[in-house]
């Protein structure tokens, strides 16, 4: 009986789709009704995800709330979803940002119906990607999410939106299509070895392939994820997409979409191909640290606020990658924590830039200055978010960065030292930007009569700020829920390393780090 009812997770995945279908049947003139329907859907989804958080067993590292339905039996493809400490907070991040971006889109007047339809289907795609435990299902959600994002950038974006949208799709697809080949290949090999054709991730985890095959498969997966992260040098699509996307698109892009790449490493590439991961770690770390410093330097030189934040994302996601490939508990935990906190603070930054853009129709830093006088409330919010992005102790950014650096110092001290300069550079470009935009005398008379942010905008920003503070001072409930699942991933890497018959990794710094943790 209860089998026929959708589980909590399925509801979270498909509530937005349901809302999107309802939106399709509301006449396009009734924009308020459209917005309210979408907002209600997103809120309900968020509430339901809170229910999952409430009933989540913190001490359990394995999948919870799993749901399994046969989808294509002949090929062993299932609708198989579940949640663990890794995906829990990413899903919450996505459902939390859902209502916020819809509220932030209230100023959209053209083609509202289609806009909300795509926003809601996008949410389904994102949540599904985080929850899918069947490789085929994962790929489906991963690709499904591209289409609404393509439309959101392409239809409601800035002047070069078509170029940016196409670039976004082509970059992402060039990686993900090779991942599709790798997914089919790994399932085929699994069928050859175990005799059952399945795309079930949990069962494929136990597959142990020779090192030569692992490397190729790892590369195919890693390319797809690295483009999404984006890891230097695959980042060139990101500034274009961010600059051209509407505010809500940027928030979703920076807040959730980029995390899909790092999540992919944590869920798929690392535990599936441990030997290849260990072999590739030095290269990935080198790219990550290059990205940290490069992103920070380029961000410093930007004149466009959105571009600056886009490059700062490249830098911050470099930290996440560094933590992941440190391959120890602190590194992984810090990365996961940083994914969430980057989602919040960068999301908030894009919202703030969107608010100022709506007032002045420019995003150039040079057009601002001394905004604190006409916009005091705005400036206060902006300050907290800026500090959070820098990683000020007491705010969310600090915890993640600190743990990542801790983990990285354990495994690769030299690279970690390089990454530390990124922290300093980050403080420089963010504070410099803040000074030029908000502080100092009012240099442009047009800015004199700007209206400070209103109730709707405060309602948008306050929950994010509350979380930024909460995550900064009391990380324990979050970290403790992440830990068991992360330890499982680490154990998987280590187990396979010790039983590896074909490849003995050289004593790289990375392996030393994880061994120490293993004790």
């Amino acid at each position: 009986m209860t089998d026929l009812l959708p589980g909590d997770l399925s509801l979270i995945v498909f509530l937005p789709t349901l809302g999107a279908l309802v939106v399709l049947f509301i006449p396009r003139e009734r924009t308020q009704a459209l917005f309210k329907t979408a907002l209600a859907t997103a809120l309900l989804t968020f509430l339901w995800s809170l229910k999952v958080l409430w009933r989540f067993t913190p001490s359990q590292g394995e999948m919870q709330f799993t749901e399994r339905l046969s989808w294509i039996p002949a090929y062993g493809i299932e609708y198989f979803i579940g949640i663990d400490g890794i995906s829990l907070f990413l899903v919450l991040l996505a459902t939390f940002l859902g209502p916020i971006v819809i509220l932030a889109s209230w100023s959209i007047t053209e083609k509202v119906k289609e806009y909300l339809f795509f926003m809601l289907t996008l949410e389904t795609g994102m949540i599904g990607t985080f929850l899918a435990l069947d490789l085929f299902l994962f790929y489906v959600f991963w690709e499904v999410m591209l289409v609404p994002m393509y439309f959101i950038i392409g239809v409601w974006g800035g002047p070069r939106r078509i170029y940016a949208a196409l670039k976004f799709v082509l970059f992402t697809m060039s990686g993900s299509l090779l991942m599709l080949v790798a997914i089919i290949y790994i399932a085929t090999r699994n069928a050859e070895i175990t005799g059952t054709l399945t795309f079930d991730l949990l069962r494929i985890y136990n597959l142990h392939l020779p090192y030569e095959e692992q490397i190729w498969l790892f590369l195919a997966f890693a390319l797809a994820f690295a483009i999404k992260v984006p890891l230097f040098p695959f980042h060139t699509w990101l500034p274009d997409a961010h600059v051209e996307a509407p505010t809500a698109g940027s928030v979703i892009l920076a807040g959730v979409l980029l995390k899909m790449g790092t999540y992919g490493f944590l869920r798929f590439a690392i535990p599936l191909f441990p030997e290849a991961t260990i072999a590739a770690a030095p290269f990935v770390i080198a790219l990550a640290v290059t990205g940290i410093i490069y992103g920070a330097l380029v961000a410093m030189m930007q004149r466009d606020l959105k571009k600056l934040i886009a490059y700062s994302s490249v830098s911050h996601l470099g930290f996440v990658m560094l933590g992941l490939f440190a391959l120890n508990l602190q590194g992984l935990q810090g990365s996961l924590y940083q994914m969430i906190s980057h989602g919040l603070s960068t999301g908030a930054l894009f919202l703030i830039v969107g608010m100022i853009y709506e007032r002045r129709h420019t995003r150039m830093i040079a057009d601002f200055g001394g905004l604190w006088r006409p916009l005091p409330v705005f400036s206060a919010f902006f300050l907290v978010v800026t500090l959070s992005s820098i990683g000020l102790p007491g705010l969310n950014g600090f915890i993640g960065e600190f743990l990542i650096l801790l983990g990285a110092f354990k495994s690769t001290p030299l690279w970690a030292a390089g990454a530390t300069t990124g922290v300093v550079l980050g403080a420089i470009y963010m504070l410099w930007m803040y000074r030029r935009v908000v502080l100092g005398p009012l240099t442009h008379p047009e800015n004199q009569n700007l209206k400070d942010i209103g109730t709707r905008e405060i309602v948008i920003l306050t929950p994010i700020l509350a979380l930024i503070l909460f995550m900064g001072v009391y990380p324990q409930p979050i970290l403790s829920r992440m830990r068991p699942s992360i330890e499982l991933v680490l154990r998987r890497v280590e187990d396979k390393r010790y039983s590896a018959p074909v490849f003995t990794p050289s004593r790289t710094a990375a392996t030393r780090g994880t061994k120490r943790h293993g004790n």
């Binding site: 294509i72 083609k111 690709e143 289409v147 949208a165 697809m173 060039s174 089919i184």
Partner: protein, 479 residues
């Protein structure tokens, strides 16, 4: 020995309908001729209904030269479906193009008849007869838009190229006959098993020529040169029919003859096919990018899709064959639907087939925009649509059969194709201007048929299991 005529029933029923329509056409007045479309659909429907009674009951006729197995029935239904949708498409379209109703429907029926023969033939001669019946009907259909020079030109081109292809085919059949002493596929297959070295070279050349002939029909590179001009010149409803039905029938024959009966010889042609598949995919996709006309773009895209289908032929066996069958169903729906939307834009004398005519369509005509987006995304291979599942199985068949490189080339080609399929969506949703497409806006049948194909594409993507099982069991029914 008594002749069992039951396997002939569906084909005969279609031919009979054709004759009835032909006769009625003489007696009906011009304004009453609308009924011919419904008689055509009724006739096709009855033939389709017959297949349900014949399912799972393989029978053969004429000394085993015609075999009505599930494989044949599967394709019979697919072809009937394509023909019905084409007829629905053309109810009002024929008014716009001044094409004679009677002849049009008769020819659609005769070509369907030819195709049904082709997919049930187990004898090379009968296969050839089916192919010729279909081809002659299509030559005329291509040229039926008599007001257009391009239509006549296309018909001429198609005819000359088709005649060439038929020559190759017939020559190939003759050589195979010379080598094995039979035109019956079962006997040819049996003589392969005995493997006498005598006449082996002759057989190889014969199969090669057969391959060339079939490649012409599916427009595989390097035998594709006729396709873009013919597809562009023909009336759009005919183009859609040609692009999907001929392809399906030819690939069905290809599957029966090469993948199944001559499978032991696969080592001889697999390299040639490999090269052709790669070339077909790449040339089709690269040239499609350069097109400004949507109709012509779809022509090149249909070439590219023939390339993907060849992957299934190369992979062979159960996994390749069933992937091929499934892909043909998905391809039929999404490609026909796309041609339907192109038809819907026609306004009087203006065909409105250029990319620029699609500008802003998504918001001006939401239904057409949405369905066209579904077709384009499915053709490009986005989940959860039929085209994605189809590609997934084709690429999987390549990997399972040890051709991972083909899967990689295939996905890279899909990436190329995204460029031009998404360009249509860019036009429809991200540009302004374009045309209304009012002339056919009052054709409920056209719109209904587009909706049916779009729903089919979504259905195949979301619930692929039934169609997949059907493809597999149909392929396995080959004997």
């Amino acid at each position: 020995m008594e002749t069992n005529l039951i396997p002939l029933l569906p084909a005969a029923e279609i031919a009979l309908t054709a004759l009835i329509v032909l006769l009625l056409d003489l007696f009906l007045r011009e304004r009453e001729k609308g009924i011919l479309a419904w008689i055509t659909i009724l006739g096709l429907g009855i033939a389709g209904g017959m297949t349900f009674f014949l399912w799972d009951d393989p029978q053969s006729a004429f000394q085993n030269s015609l075999v009505l197995d599930n494989f044949g029935l599967f394709f019979t239904n697919l072809l009937i479906g394509a023909a019905v949708i084409t007829v629905l498409f053309s109810v009002h379209y024929l008014n716009e193009t001044n094409i004679q109703r009677g002849e049009y429907h008769v020819l659609i029926l005769f070509s369907t008849f030819g195709m049904v023969l082709m997919v049930t033939a187990n004898d090379l001669i009968l296969f050839f007869l089916g192919l010729e019946t279909l081809s002659v009907a299509l030559y005329v259909l291509t040229g039926m838009w008599r007001e257009r020079k391009s239509s006549s030109e296309a018909a001429m081109k198609y005819f000359i190229n088709g005649a060439f292809a038929s020559g190759f085919l017939l020559y190939g059949i003759a050589l195979i006959f010379g080598a094995t002493g039979s035109t019956n596929l079962a006997r040819i297959s049996a003589s392969l098993a005995q493997s006498t070295t005598q006449g082996q070279g002759l057989l190889s050349v014969g199969v090669l020529l057969l391959l060339v002939g079939l490649s012409f029909k599916v427009a595989a590179v390097p035998f594709h040169f006729w396709a873009p001009d013919v597809y562009e010149g023909a009336p759009t409803s005919v183009t859609g029919f040609m692009a999907v039905a001929v392809k399906a029938a030819a690939f069905a024959a290809w599957t029966r003859i090469l993948v199944h009966q001559l499978a032991p010889m696969s080592s001889e042609w697999s390299f040639i096919l490999w090269t052709m598949a790669v070339l077909t995919m790449t040339v089709g996709n690269v040239l499609a990018i350069a097109q400004a006309s949507v109709k012509r773009m779809l022509a090149y895209s249909s070439i590219a899709h023939a390339g993907y289908l060849l992957i299934g032929v190369i992979a062979g066996g159960e996994v390749g064959g069933s992937a091929l069958l499934f892909y043909l169903v998905a391809y039929t729906l999404m490609s026909l639907g796309a041609f339907g939307v192109v038809m819907a834009l026609k306004e009087g004398e203006n065909d409105n087939e250029q990319l620029t005519h699609f500008a802003g369509l998504g918001f001006r005509r939401p239904f057409l925009g949405m369905t066209m987006s579904i077709f384009m995304l499915s053709l490009a291979g986005f989940p959860p649509l039929g085209g994605f599942i189809g590609k997934f199985y084709l690429f999987r068949s390549a990997i399972v059969s040890g051709h991972t490189e083909l899967a990689i080339i295939g996905v890279l080609n899909s990436l190329l194709s995204v460029v031009y399929y998404l360009r249509v969506i860019v036009m429809m949703y991200m540009e302004e201007g374009g045309v209304q497409g009012k002339s056919l806006a009052s054709s409920p049948y056209l719109y209904a048929a587009i909706a049916i194909t779009a729903l089919g594409v979504v259905y195949l993507g979301v619930i692929p299991a039934p169609a997949l099982d059907l493809s597999r069991t149909s392929f396995l029914s080959l004997r």
